[in-house]
Amino acid sequence: MERNEFDKMLRDRLAGVTEPAPDVWEGISRGLARKHRRVLLRSFATGAVAAAAGLAVALLVFRGPQAARQVEAPVRTAQAVQSVQPAAPAPAEVAPIATQIAQFTKHQVTAQAFIPHEAPVTVEEEQPAVETPVTEAPDTETPAVETPVTSQNDPVEPQHQLTEEDLPADFWREDVPARKTHTSNLSISSNITTVGSEGDLIYKASPMHSSSQTGSRAASAVEPVSGSPKFFSPLSLGLQLEIPLSGPVFLSTGLSYSYLVSQYDMLVDKVRYEGAYNQLHYVGIPLSLSWHFVETPSVGVYASAGGAVEKCVAQRYVYASNTLSEKVAGLQWSARVGLGVEYWFVPRLGLYFDPSLVYFFDNHQPLSIRTQQPLQARFEVGLRFKL
């Protein structure tokens, strides 16, 4: 037999050959679900990063320069003072106070209190820092405006001589903590709930949704069928404002969005569909109190408790090649407790990680992981901005 003849015969023999394939659909289905989750996560992450970046830029543009000046002012003032009289000894009665004031920056007394000798001094404790021109050398041409720092060549009329009586009684006590000022925080969060599960159907709630297709049916056209439903990890995105109430106690509220996907067998108009999908979109308002029991300039730890009310704004069933949208009545209430850590990597921008336990009350909502497993562990991460 010639080569070409053999090749052709072989091709013909195997052209239409079929072989019973092993059942790998389960694996394919799992792979597709993983991919779907990855795509969703990527979309959420992209959205969160874009929102965070936009907000960060907005903060920098509208608030950043002022904030930067406020932070820089004391330093620059101190440099100016030191450069004016680097070697000048202070008078004996002023030097101890001035030296100690310079050390006690935690009381927010800036180096404005460090006054060159013979210069009249005015110090107002906790006076907000003002922008001070940095002078490398005494400048007789430029009068010092808006600055309490003076040089020998630029006398300013004295207002009040600094004495120890001007300082608070506890000023010299080392054990008195610095007074903390709490500001409001804005958080952009994304959370993942590790509850994606499979198992027997537990569904007691009666759906109270009406079909948008007919517009007249009070009951749902869809009915879950007993079986082994799959629930994918819910994805959420949120924007929260944290307002200081009293001391280390904050009140948080905002807006949240959650996306829940379930896959189960269902009857649609009495026809059974296996492995159909249900997609739920919730928008909610969380409300919680948090107690910040560890606060350092860069790290904070807090406990929080609260709840949320959510409204399902869209529900969609996907079965075979069809989709069906239905309205969902009622609200979903939930309660949560958590412990969070925040890390401020720049003065006004930080990251936080907020693991919590959430309980979803039975509010007759459509079948989802929330009805199947009301108690869930949630891991929230996000960016936090000081306003």
């Binding site: 037999m1 072989l10 023999r13 195997l14 659909w25 394919i28 792979g31 108009d269 026809v271 069809n322």
Partner: protein, 185 residues
């Protein structure tokens, strides 16, 4: 409501592009038994199962790129062939193909009428028993209709090497068929 199993190929493809799981499942059920033998030819029965799964995942991932030019089955077959070649590359099986090509001529010309006596399933298994390097070159050239230049490019070898390996694979396969035929008699 139509049963998805009655969908035409175009309807199934459209459903898969939309990411509908039922359409994907029907497509899998319709083509798994066609693509499985392709995987067996390249990898043998052991590894064919894994590649069958990966191949379908790739099909569902890339199905939006199918423009309707040429048969859909042919488009799918290319994806599965590529998946098989990737698997072979991963296992480094092609590294030994050059050595095999240098081995002495095996001979074995098949008489007329012998091939017709062998079942398709047995032919598949005989091809799968070829050494991995020879098997890949033979499958691409004889079964998929690649030219030697295309085989050389796909497998990173010279055209001459592709020619000699196809020749050796053919001889070896004919020998195996003959042995099986003689054993049957």
């Amino acid at each position: 409501m139509r049963d998805p199993s009655t969908y035409t190929e175009a309807e199934l493809i459209a459903g898969c592009v939309r990411g509908e799981r039922k359409a994907q499942q029907v497509l899998y059920e319709r083509y798994a038994s066609v693509m499985y033998p392709v995987c067996i030819r390249y990898l043998g029965r052991e590894d064919a199962k894994d590649v069958l799964q990966d191949g379908f995942l790739t099909v569902f991932d890339k199905i939006g790129t199918y423009k309707g030019e040429g048969s859909f089955e042919g488009w799918m077959r290319k994806i599965f062939v590529n998946a098989c070649l990737m698997q072979i590359r991963k296992s480094d099986a092609l590294r030994f193909s050059e050595d095999i090509a240098e081995s002495p001529e095996l001979g074995g010309v098949l008489e007329h009428g012998v091939l017709e006596q062998i079942e398709s399933r047995q032919i598949l298994d005989l091809i799968a028993q070829l050494p991995p390097g020879l098997r890949s070159v033979f499958n691409l050239f004889v079964m998929e209709g690649y030219s030697h230049a295309e085989v050389a490019e796909a497998l990173g070898m010279t055209e001459q090497s592709s020619r000699s390996q196809v020749s050796r694979a053919r001889s070896l396969l004919q020998k195996k068929i003959k042995e099986l035929y003689n054993g049957k008699k």
